[in-house]
Symmetry: C2
Subunit: 448 residues, 2 copies
């Protein structure tokens, strides 16, 4: 029987990061990572294998991080976790552990829509052979319908439509694409970009059924219309993959994920969980969160890795920070949108600043860039920020994320000392973040 101090199950971002953090925190302890896949897809890179990247092979996560950190990589399925014996059973035999990290991730949610089993209806599995197959089908397809206008659906559409001769449609149930992450003014910007690129965007539209004989031929939508389709991609979200954990007697929460404390330990001592398989609560108010992002997974993994043999770190709840590109316009968001905040009962102050992210504006690489900040109205504490424009918004929103995590008020953010440069940013006079904060102070004062 093999024996390790720490065993991590799962080869995605959570698993890799947990293993590396285990090594860094407890250099004397042996660490093994167990995964099913010979090779691992970078999950966020999957949409790009259909356009920007030529093949799924270009989107493989390197194993160098494991090797460099002396983490033993074991490629096998796992049949069972035995919490009492502190071991796992695999087809190749038993492996014992002192601390276990479950990072089994998620699987695509397939909605109960009639016709979902027709040939040509795909979900998005993080499996390189499956994705190669999907890529082949996409290459042959003429009419492609993407169900779900969240960021996965939007990124797929934006990539696939780059290939000439394809009709690409997005069907989104909510009034806008990306509506969970952006307020309407940003969503509309994103939809404009998608439409300009040639994507047909249906919003406030449900899919009633998938139609066809054996193979998908059309998608019936709530307007009554039939959208022709020879390929459908489901991008509606994911479910926590918790079967191994459940079978081992580990408590599963009402959100469907493995319950953990703030140290990422499960209901069973010495077993930790992180990433998509794990239940999350929000940084704002502490309610359950359904967000699943690689960046959240890695943060949880760092907490899990730090706490394996003694308690070192605790999480503060999920913030939700992410970015995307649509037709070379970048979109990024951190924390609560205005509409999410209002629906949670917050009274808010918002400010928006728009301008070119270079100075003078004629410097190369300049993009008109818009930033919106959302503050709690009685304290002026920052709750969220959204931005779109040049590539710099990806990190601009990371600045916002830092400020949110420190509960900073508008007046404090007015004092923020940033660096600026003609070739890299707006001028310090026009710097979006500080101006938005300064304007929020005035709104706050005029109420006071």
């Amino acid at each position: 029987m093999k024996k390790f101090d720490t065993v991590v199950i799962g080869g995605g971002p959570a698993g890799i990061t947990a293993a590396i953090s285990a090594r860094r925190n407890y250099p004397q302890k042996s660490v093994a990572l167990i995964r099913r896949e010979e090779q691992v897809m970078i999950p966020c890179g999957i949409p790009y294998i259909f356009g920007t990247l030529k093949t799924p092979e270009q989107n493989l996560a390197p194993d160098a991080g494991l090797k460099n950190n002396a983490i033993e990589l074991i490629i096998t399925g796992v049949d069972k976790i035995d919490a009492e014996k502190k071991s796992i059973q695999t087809p190749g035999g038993e492996i014992s552990w002192d601390k276990l990290v479950i990072a089994t991730g998620s699987r695509p949610f397939v909605p109960p829509i009639p016709g979902k089993n027709l040939k040509g209806v795909f979900d998005i599995k993080k499996d390189s052979n499956y994705l190669k197959e999907l890529k082949k089908h996409i290459a042959e397809a003429k009419n492609i319908v993407i169900v779900g206008g969240g960021f996965i659906g939007v990124e797929f559409a934006d990539e696939i439509v780059k290939t000439a001769g394809k009709s690409v449609s997005i069907i989104e149930m909510m009034p806008n694409c990306l509506a969970l992450s952006y307020d309407a003014e940003f969503c509309i910007e994103a939809e404009k970009k998608l439409r300009a690129a040639g994507v047909n965007v249906y919003t406030s539209t449900r899919v009633e059924s998938f139609g066809g004989v054996e193979k998908i031929e059309f998608v019936k939508i709530s307007s009554g219309e039939s959208v022709p389709a020879d390929l459908v991609i489901l991008g509606i979200g994911a479910h926590a993959e918790v079967e191994l954990a459940r079978a081992a007697g580990i408590a599963i929460g009402s959100s469907g994920g493995i319950i953990v404390d703030r140290r990422m330990e499960t209901s069973v001592k010495n077993i930790f969980s992180c990433g998509d398989c794990t239940e999350k609560y929000s940084f704002f108010g502490g309610r359950l969160s359904q967000l699943k992002l690689a960046s959240i997974a890695t943060q949880e993994a760092r907490i899990a890795g730090a706490n394996l043999f003694e308690t070192r770190l605790q999480g503060a709840g999920t913030l939700g920070v992410w970015s995307t590109m649509i037709s070379s316009m970048a979109f990024a968001t951190a924390g609560l949108t205005e509409s999410a905040a209002v629906s949670m009962g917050y009274r808010v102050i918002t400010t928006s600043v728009e301008g070119i992210n270079r100075h003078p504006g004629v410097m190369p690489g300049g993009h008109n860039t818009k930033l919106k900040l959302v503050f709690e109205a009685s304290s002026s504490i920052l709750l969220g920020g959204q931005a779109c424009g040049g590539e710099s918004v990806g990190d601009m929103v990371n600045v916002v994320a830092a400020l949110i995590q420190k509960n900073m008020r508008a007046d404090e953010i007015t004092l923020f000392q940033m660096g600026t440069h003609p070739a890299l940013s707006a001028s310090p006079i026009a710097y979006h973040l500080v101006n938005a904060a300064e304007m929020a102070c005035q709104k706050f004062l005029s109420k006071g």
Copy 2:
């Protein structure tokens, strides 16, 4: 006699921002901005008028911000500030104020080097006619010597060398270019880039004299060598422009700048000062700081503007955050370098992380990117960060700046929730900032 509630003297970033902040904070109060120049150069854009931008006209600061904020623009020199009468005298008559903001900026420092008055020896004035003249001379020159390898010297060299057929040399006194802002490993990277672009870089080298008959012909340096030169540009720094303030009886500090309190008020009640003309103290330890940056100037201006009629904000000292581009490699820095920290008596922990700022690394726009963090060793509080690589380091270092300003420890930064995206950033597993912090935690622990 004209009369305004607030008068700002100076049309640079500090003056513009102070006027706008005055308007935002006290919307009922009248604001006038007085400046000498018909048109204002964007100071940080000046190096770019010699390459990337075609003419000085492309680098003009727009006056729209003044107009949109109902700020009266008066173009005139100022002869005298009368603190008792609360007025200023100008060639066009007296203008009275209730609150005055002095933002008179700085003028280039011209070192007492023999031959400095030879024709062809230029400093860098923020004056569009002067710069047009300089541009003409640069176009005709063959051998150009830049004295000073700080960021102005480096940016000038990098821009000018793009024009074929010119020999461009930098003479820097310190062991490396940019040594006040970066540790040696980054400076060496910058020097490599400069040399690869064709710049001759002399370090640990003093200028002994400028030689020639009437016109500059060569620069004699401390090695004994004579560097041929038909044009010299002095980029050694700037002196606070305080003559108006001094004549008005306002206290001037030992650093040469106007003394202010944390509210940016000078020794004379109702008179505020901000920007390059103002004395600064460091965020770290509170000693005087010689940093002069537009981003610092605008932050001071926002504080001054907020405090004119009641006390609203106070500064925490100058952090020093800035970035630059050298041959399409971006460099950025925030807070203390390792060497600056050590020279101030800090015991430090440092960590460096290197990797591509995309994931997978083959995504377009990827650059190898390096981040170094400097922590105080007994508390693991972040003191500084330096980065070089892709354009994203400009905002990456702004994240670092936010964390420094909140006195964050390595363990807190390990918990930092950032957004990542294949087209915009490193993977969340490899995200530079969090990894550097996590590695610092381990160094901190292993000492503990």
